[in-house]
């Protein structure tokens, strides 16, 4: 991965032309984009649902930690790793 880690005050949002939504037939969040589609697991879906260009990365991590208090550190690492991956893949942009 050549992208730099996103700073905590960055406000990630979905790239243009990407559609993120719940898909009943997959019982999952999905990402639709020009070259294809991806089914997201529950944690990735929970992160992307918060990448609205308003919340900062720090806020997103804090919100998810509040929902799963027992796993604080793990969540922070997981969210950062996923957001960096999603930026690298071009799904997310930092606003």
């Amino acid at each position: 991965m050549d992208a730099l880690p996103l700073p905590a005050d960055a406000r990630p949002r979905l790239s243009p032309h990407y559609v993120f939504r719940w898909e009943e037939s997959q019982s999952a969040f999905i990402l639709l984009y020009p070259e294809g589609l991806i089914k997201l697991n529950a944690s990735a879906g929970a992160v992307l649902a918060r990448c609205d260009g308003a919340r900062t990365l720090a806020t997103i991590i804090a919100e998810l930690q509040a929902s799963f208090p027992a796993q604080g550190a793990e969540i922070a690492d997981g969210v950062r790793a996923f957001v960096d991956l999603a930026c690298d893949k071009g799904w997310l942009r930092a606003a």
């Binding site: 243009p16 032309h17 559609v19 939504r21 898909e23 037939s25 997959q26 999905i30 639709l32 984009y33 020009p34 070259e35 294809g36 589609l37 991806i38 089914k39 997201l40 697991n41 529950a42 944690s43 990735a44 929970a46 998810l64 799963f68 796993q71 793990e74 969540i75 997981g78 969210v79 790793a81 996923f82 991956l85 071009g90």
Partner: protein
Amino acid sequence: MPKETHGLSLDGQGKPLWLSLELTYRCPLKCTWCNNPLDFEDYAAKELSTEEWKQVLRDARAIGALQLGFTGGEPLQRADLEELVAHADGLGFYTNLITSGIGLSEERLLALKAAGLKQIQLSLQSTRPGLTDALVGARAHAHKLEAARLIKAHGFPMVLNMPVFRHNIELIGEMIEWAAGLGVEYIEFANIQYYNWALMNRDELMPTLEQVREAERVVNEWRAKLGKAMTIYFVIPDYYEGRPKACMNGWGAIHLTIAPDGVAMPCQEARVIPGLAFESVRDRPLGWIWHESPLFRKYRGLDWLPEPCGSCAEKEKDFGGCRCQAFLLTGDAANTDPACSRSPHHHLVQQAVAGVAAPLRFRKPLVKRAAGAVSTAFMED
């Protein structure tokens, strides 16, 4: 929170994730490499109505389809394209238009945008007006450039599709340069596949191995230069690779194509295979056709594979290649794709490649896609 944060799978789980609607086979162009059926003109009278297409869209969503391509022929020939895009968008499809650009006015582009169209794939055959026009058999180059400009001006993501063959393969570098100037994000060099019109013209269209290698070198040079600004899709054609393509990700796995007359197919070429029982959405529910019909079950999965595929580790990746190519070259769709070097019929592909390298004393003229250009009486049953 679950551990597998990067668990991003794409498995159809038996659903036709990718739906292609061939709205019509009508088209103002006459491409000699066209993969539409030879008897394309017979479909005009049998095209599904607007309401029938809408029913197809609803039924396909009900069995899990998500990505949707409107293609043809030239889909802009259908005056109800905007209405169908709007219906599909409302159902939750990600809608793509696959077009030659002929008929794409600014007015229609705006209507398509309003209808929810997400992406446009535009085909362009060369960077030189005279050559493009000669290749497609009409004054098309200027219209295509104008279409490209409009598509970008209205903010659509665009795939530029260049079907590649002997007459234009040396223009790949020029095409990339032109596309980069326009801000195209994705360019696809589609080494043409030899079905229908393309198969008829194969010996004249097929590039030489030197041309293919040189094209690959040029592509790699541009990839290094442009980096992430542009994705350049180019794969060495299966005829030269000794490995078959993972055709359609497997038969009846994630792709579903509906022909203008409502016939459902695992891929757009499947009708070249004789003896298969094709079903139309006019006669049978789409869900039954996809899940249950003998056609879709025939080559689904890996269990039916013959040797050498059956005992080959590659089968998980390529599913034994393309059924249509296996039929067209070996006479039996259930054979290993002869593009594979392990196929007992691989010499057929090698002969075709060798034939291209040998200097010919004369070349046949290319047969343009046109009604009556070839006799298709033998196709009637």
